[in-house]
Symmetry: C2
Subunit: 323 residues, 2 copies
């Protein structure tokens, strides 16, 4: 069990964690097993509420509290239908940290903070980072184009986004998109971030609730195996498969947003990522999948990242870089 | 005049330069004034032959030799019509280094190397980096999705591409795409690069032959002001303007590659970047334009980058990082 360490990294201090390494709250992959494993290893685990009914989320939070005494968070996409029930659950079950995404940071930040909850909003541009700061969030996740799942239409990459958001905001910035090891986290911190959120790397962990077939598909991914698509609907980066080909063909023949919505249908993300229908389901994963070579316990992933970061000498760059 | 420095950075040693900072050979922007200014400041200046007839290139090389005693290079896009005459000129005028792009590295590498010329090929994937290494090039430029101008269809970003190419090759890797200052160069070197090529930053230099109106447009760019487009033709990242809107509309209404070619016509790059027709010309620039705030002498840009790199403590990470 990792204890809080006093240093000048604002993300570690804000959350009361040992390392500013955050596991993304990916839909269908991030349940209490994964979140508690990451938090127990000294990072910040996140339960992804985006794929959960309120009673499922309740169960997940209770189990996560039981499995770790360290801080953990819940990620809530604000455009989802049960957001009010999710927020009630989070407050009543004393979740210490909430990551919000896909919606306005104004809607829930004050309410959550009035209950002593730390709030982080996920953004893909400096403009939204500034709005989030004005709404009172404690930190932002700045997520680059290379990240898996839903992302911004401006397509700004991590290399360009992190310096921009870090310059635009006073609050600390957590980088996301293309990060998977100690070197990429140090690169993001050199660019101005104070923490790193990793999604794809933790999809390929033992505790992730992704279906084994999805994990295998992630490990088989090559460069160019993912595409940021569906820009006319809700832009998303997904792994190439039969569903992806159908989308590409429909787009090429001028399909309307309604027709694209019909192809996507309902439950395609669950079908692919949770039930393992690798060809007909939606497989959300980042570009960095091409560098992932094994499924490992989440705690080992955190330790390996910390060792790698220390080996390259991250801490030599100053107090902000120490962990 | 910067002298060669002995250190273990393979890019500095390969080229015989002081800092592994390379100015991209951007069409219409990179003539002898810019190349010699960068080389005189201790980096590697490159003349961009892609926008030059053979007699213009000849004149540019002669002037560059006269303006600097330090090494400089010529960038030759291999699909351009006058490539044979360009190569003859390069050999006869004793250009020490050639960067090739947009074509097979097999075609010219042996010929150039038999004349003692160092050869670097520009790639956007590990697969092409491996092919380049097998063709005998001395180094590769790995250019991410965020870069301006023509780039790869796989859309791999600098954050994901540099670790992949560095792992795939034995030869040294020069990073490109999203790099503009000491921090971003250090980030790229942490990811595995041994040098950095900057295009957009040097477009906005006093010695760049870009039209003043283009330079001003670059300084006015915001996040999201560029898009990687024309994927059905020759994919390119360009600044938004009337020409870009016309392309978007044509693509949305299902234009064929031939129709898109007609919109692009001939000479649109010259019109925009060299003649300053900001609305109807093609303006090639990278995402990082949104962080550029002034047009400066190229030598000052190099010095500022070196100071910034040293200030953040790059050299503390080991010999490979020293400059």
């Amino acid at each position: 069990m990792a204890a809080q360490k006093n240093n000048s990294n604002r993300i570690s201090n804000l959350f009361g964690i040992k390392y500013p390494i955050i596991q993304g709250g990916m839909v269908w992959c991030a349940g209490w097993e994964l979140a508690s494993a990451v938090s127990n290893a000294g990072g910040l685990g996140i339960i992804g509420a985006g794929s959960m009914y309120p009673d499922v989320l309740k169960d997940q939070i209770i189990k996560c509290h039981a499995a770790t005494s360290n801080p953990f968070a819940v990620n809530v996409p604000l455009l989802y239908p049960s957001v009010e029930e999710h927020m009630e659950m989070i407050v009543s079950l004393k979740v210490p940290i909430v990551f919000t995404s896909a919606g306005s940071p104004k809607t829930w930040t004050s309410h959550l903070k009035s209950h002593g909850i730390k709030v982080v909003h996920v953004v893909s541009s400096s403009a939204f980072a500034i709005k989030s700061e004005l709404a009172g969030v404690d930190a932002v996740v700045a997520e680059g184009f290379e990240a898996g799942g839903h992302n911004g239409r401006e397509e700004t990459t991590t290399m360009c986004l992190i310096p921009a958001v870090s310059q635009a905001c006073q609050i600390p910035v957590i980088a996301a998109g293309g990060l998977h090891d100690g070197k990429s986290i140090l690169a993001a911190m050199v660019l101005g971030a104070e923490g790193a959120q990793l999604g794809s790397r933790f999809v390929a962990s033992e505790e992730s609730s992704a279906h084994r077939a999805f994990k295998d598909a992630v490990l088989s991914a090559q460069e160019g195996s993912t595409t940021f698509t569906l820009k006319a609907l809700t832009p998303v980066r997904m792994l190439h498969n039969a569903l992806f080909k159908e989308i590409v063909q429909a787009q090429q023949s001028g399909a309307s947003p309604e027709q694209l919505q019909e192809i996507m249908g309902r439950g395609k993300a669950k079908k692919g990522m949770f039930e393992g229908d690798i060809e007909n389901g939606e497989l959300e994963i980042g570009q960095i999948a091409s560098l992932l070579k094994s499924v490992r316990p989440a705690g080992e992933i955190v330790s390996e990242i910390v060792n790698d970061y220390r080996e390259i000498g991250g801490a030599k760059l100053g107090q902000r870089f120490e962990f």
